[in-house]
Symmetry: C2
Subunit: 380 residues, 2 copies
């Protein structure tokens, strides 16, 4: 029992520097860059037990464990990664990485541009999921990992998993694509664009070069995050948790917080806008918009997946309306049509898109069962 | 055939002044105010054929017809109101009114406060659906209408219809509640609050008194409208109309318009923010949040509807996710439980919430059929 809930313990972020230019989808290159990452568990002698965790919009490399004994918040997927947990660090060598363009240590818009000695700001390139996969592959090379036992991610992370299986079919044994989609819908793009416009039109954005003005577009980023949060939760889940509950028990007839849901959203927005980089937020939403692996095969996803060799686990959640089960089924159908090996589970959950970060029992069970089989099949 | 598509023709807005203080839900009063309205058709001798049209968030009194021969855009419900149309001005005396707090002529935040000679701005009271119904009843008195053959509205307009039937049971013969809800969900309130925060945090808002600074919070209002638009359209409808269509045929890797859906939304936002009053927008969203007729009857909607005498037509649209069919069914169930006379139609439509302004054939058919029976039953 205690094993189920034990932690990877204290962890330290590591840093890898790269000096070979990385060609990007936009036609430019990133000539030198750093990536921060963390690892949990031990790489086995056969180097066959590595697992890569790909993060979503606001995630990072700090997947599990704590930085010190007073650290109140463990890594963002500490419920899933650790000894005895579904992504079991007794069996796997788990890698968490902060994507390029991020704001948690890897080279991004707030990093110093070696060409100018100033933060990149608007000069930082717009990146794609393909760019991230290429950069992650270089990190894997550095760590001596030729082939991953599993690449795992939810939401935007799931898109990276899909791209890994397409770009490097020989380097992915198992692909776990959770609460994701094969491409954004018009509505998905629309929400992203409102979020971006909130940031881009904030007078403190300064065309992306707000760093040199010692300010940040916090109003815009706050709105973007508030809006994002609505799409992460389900209508039902929000109803159960907040309903029409009033702060003070009666209508105030003004514009301060009135309903508890307002208080929750504003708090989330305030907190996020104080710690996250607005340029990173913009860049992440663009990577979401651009992701469309079937774009290169005449909009035929089956054909895009033709060369894939991984076995797949695809997971969706019933109340997720950002990336609904229907979107996961598109992936599953294309994999089946391409005669690939795929398991699909639609988890009953009230948690909407956020469910991929939660611990609904059926979700935890299927992750544990799938990954136990992966662990049992490892070459040692 | 031509009769079906004929118009009420040229129309003129009229103005009514009121000098008896109107008590408001927030405890204050509006001491003097004006309401602009339009009428189409003739009030019959028995004064039994009046129909009130209640508008939604961005609507107004200009429901049908044109102001002059060069006027390119007819009133907002010109498809529904006119000679031979479902709300047939050959039979009905139709009244359109701009709600108090509006920005199309009725007294609102941008009107001059007689106490100061300056625009009300932040001094204008937050209004409720109940306040509107009371003010509309005074206008009906002025026009000599004791009892409406029908009160009709979609969305926020449908809430006014519901409130009319509750507040003045003897004054409403038929209540047509379209694409509406008995109260907002937490998710509905959340979207409204993001829209409000966009306006309230715009540096040009000046606490609501932007008029005196010769500016307006256009950035915030633009974002609010963009967000609103996403919730008016269905995911499917947006997908059919825009999909992932690119402006230029290829990815630009920047933050200008890339997908057609972005172009559409930004255009809608730009246009709206140039003509609509931000304080009115705030006030309308608050009226939506506050509407909850069952609040006075221990959250029992059936009980709230106990004294209602109107016959009801409730209409919802399959792809409306802002006020889904489920929300209309709550109203229908409460009416049935209260042993009221109600017809309910769930219209198959791809147009989402906006469908109430469109002309899906099944929708037009049911409106026409219901109102023909109302016309046939009129006392003359």
């Amino acid at each position: 029992m205690s094993n189920h809930y034990s932690s990877v313990g204290l962890v330290t972020a590591q840093r890898a520097e790269f000096n070979v230019p990385l060609p990007l989808a936009n036609g430019s290159t990133l000539d030198q860059y750093e990536m921060v990452y963390e690892t949990y568990g031990e790489l086995n002698a056969a180097r066959s037990n590595a697992v890569l965790i790909c993060h979503a919009l606001s995630g990072n490399h700090h997947v599990a464990g704590r930085y010190n004994l007073d650290d109140k918040n463990p890594g963002w997927w500490d419920t899933m990664v650790g000894p005895g947990k579904p992504i079991d660090t007794n069996h796997f060598f788990v890698i968490g990485v902060n994507n390029l363009g991020g704001c948690h240590g890897s080279t991004g818009p707030s990093s110093l541009d070696p060409a100018t000695g100033q933060p990149y700001g608007s000069a930082f390139p717009v990146l794609t999921v393909e760019d991230w996969v290429h950069s992650q592959a270089r990190l894997a090379d550095r760590l001596g990992v030729d082939r991953f036992a599993a690449v795992i991610g939810g939401s935007l992370g799931g898109m990276q998993v899909l791209q890994w299986s397409i770009t490097f079919p020989d380097r992915v044994a198992n692909a776990l694509v959770i609460a994701s989609a094969p491409k954004l819908s018009a509505q998905n793009i629309a929400f992203n664009d409102v979020a971006r416009q909130a940031i881009l039109t904030d007078p403190d954005f300064h065309g992306g070069d707000f760093y040199r003005h010692q300010t940040a577009p916090r109003r815009g980023l706050r709105l973007a995050r508030m809006l994002g949060h609505i799409t992460y939760l389900s209508d039902d889940g929000m109803g159960e948790k907040f309903g029409r509950m009033l702060r003070s028990g009666s209508y105030q007839y003004g514009y301060d917080v009135e309903f508890e849901i307002e208080s929750y959203l504003r708090y989330q927005g305030d907190r996020f806008s104080g710690v996250f980089d607005a340029n990173t937020y913009l860049l992440m939403t663009k990577a979401l918009d651009y992701f469309d692996p079937a774009r290169h095969t005449g909009h035929n996803l089956t054909q895009a997946l033709a060369a894939v060799k991984a076995r797949f686990l695809v997971v969706s959640f019933t109340t997720d309306w950002r990336f609904s089960p229907e979107r996961s089924r598109e992936i599953v159908k294309a994999l089946l049509d391409a005669r690939k090996d795929v398991s699909y589970v639609e988890v009953e959950s009230v948690h909407g898109h956020d469910a991929f970060l939660m611990t609904d029992p059926a979700y935890v069970r299927v992750m544990r069962a799938y990954l136990r089989r992966v662990a049992e099949g490892l070459q040692i």
